[in-house]
Symmetry: C2
Subunit: 329 residues, 2 copies
DNA sequence: TTGAAAGCGCTACCAT
DNA sequence: ATGGTAGCGCTTTCAA
């Protein structure tokens, strides 16, 4: 592959001159410009950005780490952030951890070696080792989905505690008295713990006691179905069900229907996220809209601010949500 | 940020020696190894991969270009291909064109300058300029979704003509006599043209004449709804509707229901892709399963073969599909 | 077992 | 207006 040197030789000028015309710098005679351009075309010369990056100590690279891309939160998020980065002339180095916690750490290390300028990490948990690695990272890390602000890690989070609180109120004001919660892994503070605690808080506040149960499973329809099936058998008096995600809610509704009950009538069901699935399913899932694309955008903008050397002006951004009323509540 | 040089100075050895211990090369005394390791830890040295890449002329980078990541085809595809690349020690540079044809070209150029080893392009069309750029690209390009084999561009495609043919047969054998098609932009050969032509072929083959119409819109539920609404008004005798995607089908079903008709009974509806949306919607969408994750995987594997210098043994890979029977047909 | 030096492709400073 | 040169951080002979 042709280099500056080759072009220079062919055009009969120095590398410096070629560099000047390639970068459109001021002070090159039109005649030489033409000569050089001809050589460039002839050789099909293409700037070697890795050399340029080494020289300039600037890669324009942003690392993005996600547990998987095929989820509405991450796929919409990546679209959102890549729009921002593209406008800023940055490229996105994407890594999917396939839910492996260990890989998150490996990729943070690798990305630093690749000299990325910053990292956006979609996290599903946050443990000591991960926090350690993030704090050691030369490239600033912005966390999305979990709150790392306690450790001084800038974070974009959804208002998970409040969504739980709202869910509780919503269920209560729709007449529910026996309310349960289906969450995910307990290591997932945002999705499992906070949403549950918010619910708990709402019940306490209205003096309605404790939630009936706090069940845990995975982020799938199937898992929601399986859990609901069992829980329904154990709690015959259940009349309100708050699910940590819309997919789980869809599964739960299926279990409810199989029992000959009507979701939204016998048992009110609420999900979180406003996954498109919930809008087409039948009955449609009442939920809370989470702005996943904005989360990606905000993360990107926050990171760009950090990179521009401004002293961080916020420790975290908490995104709001909207109530979406549909058939199940 | 500490470099080999810094480590060498601190450890009192040469850069060469440091390089040797960093890369675990044979022939370094344990004592020096320890000395060097100590210096590395002290300085928090991290290999600068951009320097290494320049020196070794190897980036381990793969460029991936998608129209948007928030679609089942691309998000599942990216998950599939990134699994393969990760195992091979390659990183993924991701670009989203936001449906801009011009950006596809820009990114191919940029990626070549970044010295990616190969490019995977999720295309929604294929015009002369794009073909030109692909053929000029130093990094081999694998096309996904559109067939570029005519221009000697290795491609991963779904069996779009046959899916149309099958759709026709399926509709016919379910008693339909007046069949229409809702597609997308005519520049999208795979999704619009081939699927329609397959349908046409099936009708011809069974001597049932021509499809009632070939309408075109976008890849959205809304667009499917709007088109179907109008088409239903124009073609009162319609009893079979083939939609280029499941989302379009979902929209169409909504229009059908609004007319007081029953999808699957009065009008049979077929989609393509097996989008999860179609499985939870009501009525559920009869469709054809497209293995999007496998498409990503196959593209990755094909590219890796190309990179390993084997003479290309196939000009394209046509993925098969499965019939998914649900309520609308 | 270790070190010196050249060179990957580029930019930028200093001369001319 | 143009060229020479040093150097970004690394690997890799070749010598010692």
């Amino acid at each position: 592959m042709a280099s500056l040197h080759d072009v220079a030789k062919l055009a009969g000028v120095s590398k410096s001159t070629v560099s000047r015309v390639v970068n459109n710098e001021y002070g090159v005679k039109q005649a030489t410009k033409d000569k050089v351009q001809k050589a460039i075309d002839e050789l099909g010369y293409q700037t070697n950005l890795v050399a340029k990056e080494l020289k300039s100590q600037k890669t324009n690279l942003i690392g993005v780490i996600v547990p998987r891309v095929a989820s509405s939160a991450t796929s919409q998020g990546v679209d959102g952030l890549s729009r921002v980065f593209d406008n800023a002339g940055k490229q996105v180095l994407l890594a999917s951890t396939q839910q492996s916690f260990q890989k998150e750490i490996e990729f943070i290390r690798l990305f630093n070696q690749k000299r990325v300028e910053g990292i956006i990490l979609y996290a599903t948990h946050l443990d000591e080792e991960l926090v350690e690695v993030i704090l050691q990272s030369a490239a600033p890390v912005v966390l999305v989905g979990q709150d790392g602000s306690l450790f001084n890690i800038p974070s974009i989070v959804h208002d998970d505690f409040r969504v739980g609180f709202e869910a509780g109120n919503r269920l209560l004001s729709n007449g529910c008295r026996n309310i349960g919660f289906i969450g995910v892994a307990s290591s997932d503070i945002a999705v499992d713990k906070l949403r549950y605690q918010g619910l708990e808080q709402a019940l306490q506040f209205k003096r309605k006691g404790e939630p009936l149960f706090h069940s845990r499973g995975e982020f799938t329809i199937e898992s929601g179905y399986l859990q609901a099936k069992q829980l329904l058998a154990e709690h015959a008096n259940l009349d309100g069900l708050f699910c940590a995600t819309d997919r789980i809610a869809i599964g739960a509704v299926k279990a409810i229907q199989e029992l000959g009950l009507t979701a939204g009538l016998d048992i009110k069901v609420l999900g979180v996220g406003n996954d498109e699935l919930g809008s087409v399913s039948s009955p449609s899932i009442s939920t809370f809209n989470y702005p996943f694309d904005k989360a990606g955008e905000s993360a990107a903008k926050l990171l760009m601010d950090l990179l521009s050397g401004e002293p961080a002006s916020m420790s975290k951004i908490v995104l709001t949500f909207q109530t979406i009323d549909r058939e199940t509540c």
